[in-house]
Symmetry: C2
Subunit: 277 residues, 2 copies
């Protein structure tokens, strides 16, 4: 029986966001294993690299198992220092940058942390604009500027509209509004008035009734709002609305915010903002 967690480090010259993202994807392929992770960003001096190397080597657990390091070290000197650790080091830059240099016939810049710098300030502005837009147009708060939106998510309360909109804005620079479908809206065969002119931009979210009950119970336990009957009624009415008006929709029950956003892009063909290259 091996119950002791394996120590995993995500290390980088820069923010370590790439190392973390890749690391999580790799570790998710080993669901039976127990990992303890630590992120160490901004390894941009020799002293820091030496300190990290020592910390990694101290991560050997009581079963004498070596740590695992997912690294994105662009600086060759610092990469070498960290590489002297006894741990298993997996760094996609090591193998991939030389192969890219060869096919592109140009040397890489060897600079750490540049993918999450502002490389183009008008693109940066578009992203901030998208966040502003999504905040103002959250939860039907303001509906006047829907004509500027890239997409309008609709759905009953607590189906994931707000986090999905914020993620679409932050990650992809999309102006994502959201409009809550309330009981009032369900009395009519028409679409709610504020969203009616924008049918082509509407995208519905739905979820399983039991999951909605759980989420609503956290907010208002033992209320009509969080009862299974009410959740079933609202979800059915919303889904009928989607069908009646030919609105694309997604059941988000098992999905993370990232997956909801990726599926919406896939479904609608909306373009992602190229914010890093």
């Amino acid at each position: 029986m091996n119950a002791e967690a394996r120590q995993v480090f995500f290390v980088s010259n820069g923010t370590a966001i790439t190392a973390e993202t890749l690391g999580h994807s790799l570790l998710a392929q080993f669901p039976s294993q127990n990992f303890r992770t630590k992120t160490i960003p901004f390894i941009n001096t020799e002293d820091k690299a030496l300190a990290v190397r020592d910390e990694i080597d101290q991560g050997i657990n009581s079963l004498n198992e070596l740590p695992i390091v997912i690294a994105t070290m662009a600086d060759p000197e610092l990469k070498k220092i960290v590489g002297e650790s006894k741990a298993l080091i997996l760094d996609p830059f090591s193998d991939f940058l030389p192969r890219l240099e060869k096919i592109l016939d140009v040397e890489s810049s060897n600079l750490g942390g540049i993918s999450h710098r502002i490389s183009n300030s008008s693109l940066y502005e578009s992203r901030i604009d998208a966040i502003d837009f999504s905040l103002i147009h959250d939860d039907g708060g303001k509906t006047r500027n829907y004509d500027e939106s890239d997409i309008i998510l609709i759905g009953v309360s607590r189906t994931g509209k707000t986090p999905s909109c914020l993620y679409l804005a932050l990650q992809f620079g999309l102006k994502a509004a959201n409009y809550p479908i309330t009981e009032e809206d369900m009395d009519s065969d028409n679409l709610p008035e504020p969203i009616r002119p924008f049918k082509d931009r509407l995208y519905g979210l739905t979820t399983d009734a039991n999951r909605l009950v759980n989420i609503r119970q956290e907010r208002r336990p033992n209320s009509r709002y969080s009862s299974i009957e009410q959740c079933r009624f609202e979800l059915r009415a919303a889904e009928e609305m989607y069908h009646r008006h030919n609105i694309r929709y997604l059941n988000t029950t098992t999905m993370s915010v990232e997956e909801i956003a990726a599926r919406i892009l896939e479904d609608t063909g909306l373009h992602r903002l190229e914010h890093s290259v």
Copy 2:
């Protein structure tokens, strides 16, 4: 002269978020090159894999240059189909999963897209709670529940507080409030009353005056608000406040939202929510 863009594909069994993130980091190492990127997520059937292979091979540009593919294909059969393309295929799963299997002495699950599924619904809830908290406590909107916050960002208007808070909430599950420093607050040697009891959670943002002018000009051109004198005055007063009260702070001038968030975590030692493994 090679001015024609090189076609790059990010492909995956799942959301392709990992492939995109890694791909952007790799391409950022070649700032002189011109890339055209396309993301193709959810390659989870043989038919889709065959279609992607064909699309990749059609991506050869007019200079007869092969496309580059950054892939995270966990399914070995589908990976093989995509791998028959003529393009340069870089997939960290190919080399890293076998090495992880060896050190962990267990086989990988070979399942695509599992890192962005909900693996633990109480962690998912914490993340949604953090987003709710950060929205309610945006821009000093509500200040009563600051005792529940993990961090409170402060700074003058348009220094990046709101996007940074949303990113901290979405990506790391942190309850991040933000409070705007206004001219009123600058008249006193004391901290503004709502944030005074929470000195240890405060974190200041600042930026260069010229950059602030540019950002404010977008909102209110040729106003006092966006004048260089006003921007200089506000930034100096805010920085004095940070020094007087020993508040950690960061100059965000050249930083993306991701870098601001990563630096804040690094500086404060706040823990990231482990949402994916």
